[in-house]
């Protein structure tokens, strides 16, 4: 039999099964906590820190996605202080790399862009890092643009846990951390990548994308009229 715990989230009493995370229980009860690195079906790592909640009166902040429920727990998921922390986290995610929404392949299909709007981040106060990070477009179908990566590691986890290839991993620490394919070799030469594209699908931003979708490439692939040119020339104008 499952042990049931009773706890409170933002003052509301909720019941949870042993082993559930605070995030799971909150969402089951319609309490919205923003996340970027969490994805249903993948393990949780607490990478993005957006789901920070306060436990007890201690003021200690923990990531809801990796915190198991406990009997009598008092969780604060929403407060002015937490909102401020979350806005700062979003700011840092934007400023650690070069996020130019207007020319991004994920413009309007981006979780970071959505969350910035939801949390009311309408400008960035911290200084920008403007790192010189590259794009690896060596793969035939996909590309990785490190300018747009937020190090959520969804790609790493889906590749390891679902596809079983473990092509992706993380190299470096702190600001120098990057997602890499096969110990930092070009994606296109990867002997482990199965080209399944799961990493591209789970990526919440424009960091991983299918080739042909970027702003510069977009229109080039849609020229259905061209094959008809010859035909029109051969047949001439209709009389």
């Amino acid at each position: 039999m499952t042990t049931v715990h009773t706890l409170t989230i933002d003052g509301a009493e909720v019941a949870a099964a042993d082993g559930q995370t605070v995030l799971e229980v909150a969402r089951e009860h319609g309490i919205d906590i923003p996340t970027l690195c969490h994805l249903e079906g993948l393990s949780d790592v607490g990478a993005c820190r957006l789901c920070l909640v306060e436990v007890g009166g201690s003021g200690k902040l923990v990531a809801a996605c990796v915190t198991r429920v406990e009997e009598g727990m008092e969780v604060t998921a929403h407060s002015e202080l937490l909102a401020e922390h979350r806005r700062t986290i979003v700011e840092m995610l934007f400023l650690e790399r070069n996020h130019i929404c207007s020319v991004c392949v994920a413009n309007n299909h981006c979780k970071l862009q959505d969350i910035a709007q939801d949390l009311g981040v309408d400008h960035l106060d911290l200084p920008a890092v403007n790192p010189d990070v590259g794009v690896d477009a060596s793969h035939a179908l996909f590309a990785v643009d490190h300018n747009r990566c937020i190090m959520c590691t969804r790609c790493v986890r889906v590749c390891d846990e679902i596809e079983g290839a473990h092509t992706w991993d993380v190299m470096g620490r702190g600001l120098a951390a990057r997602v890499v394919t096969d110990l930092g070799t070009p994606w296109g030469t990867s002997p482990t990548c199965t080209s399944c594209g799961k990493c591209v699908q789970v990526c919440p931003t424009g960091a991983l994308f299918e080739k042909g979708r970027s702003v510069a490439e977009g229109a080039k692939h849609r020229r259905p009229f061209l094959p008809h040119l010859r035909l029109i020339r051969d047949e001439g104008p209709r009389s």
Binding site: N98, I100, A116, H123, A128, N130, P131, D132
Partner: protein, 177 residues
């Protein structure tokens, strides 16, 4: 009661925000009746006047000229609006920030030029080391992100501003789009 004095300015941007402003269409007539447009790329006034109530600033601060302009604007404006992503985040003009001015100009005017290879030094203002958002240089009162902000959003902001209210657009406006 005198009508509020409205200005719009275009620094390092593409004019897209001003195009979106023109998309106010017939609402421009209403804005024109409610405010005096005292300075703008859309009117023929050469110098930024004193006593401006509301100014929409499009574009990043990217050159020495921009820097001089924005300081004057701040001094003479009551409510300064950072208008569009270039003003708010430096956006596309800021894409050069990781490259550096030297290599950037060399690439554009020397490496890729076949005739008259030279970095322009006359008439055009000198670039700053980085293209900066407006609030990195002067205090900003209202942020209106978007590339460009939609005409509806611009109207919502102006409607409040011209009535002397401070608009809250933070959950309606977004970067990009």
């Amino acid at each position: 009661m005198t009508r509020p004095r409205l200005a719009t300015v275009w620094l390092d941007g593409c004019s897209g925000c001003h195009m979106s402003f023109l998309d106010l269409d017939e609402r421009l007539i209403e804005i024109g009746e409610r405010a005096d447009l005292v300075y703008s790329p859309l009117v023929d006034v050469k110098a930024y006047p004193a006593g401006v109530d509301v100014c929409l600033v499009e574009g990043a601060v990217a050159s020495e000229e921009d820097l001089t302009k924005i300081r004057v604007i701040r001094e003479r404006t009551r409510v300064l609006v950072s208008f569009g992503d270039c003003a708010v985040t430096s956006n596309v003009p800021g894409m050069r920030n990781s490259i550096g001015v030297g290599p950037l100009l060399e690439r554009a005017y020397l490496d890729n030029a076949t005739l008259n290879q030279q970095v322009p030094s006359e008439v055009v203002p000198k670039l700053l080391p980085k293209a900066m958002p407006v609030h990195a240089v002067v205090d900003v009162d209202v942020f209106l992100p978007g590339c460009p902000p939609s005409a509806d959003l611009i109207y919502a902001a102006l409607d409040d501003l011209l009535a002397g209210r401070r608009p809250d657009l933070s959950r309606r406006a977004r970067f990009g789009s």
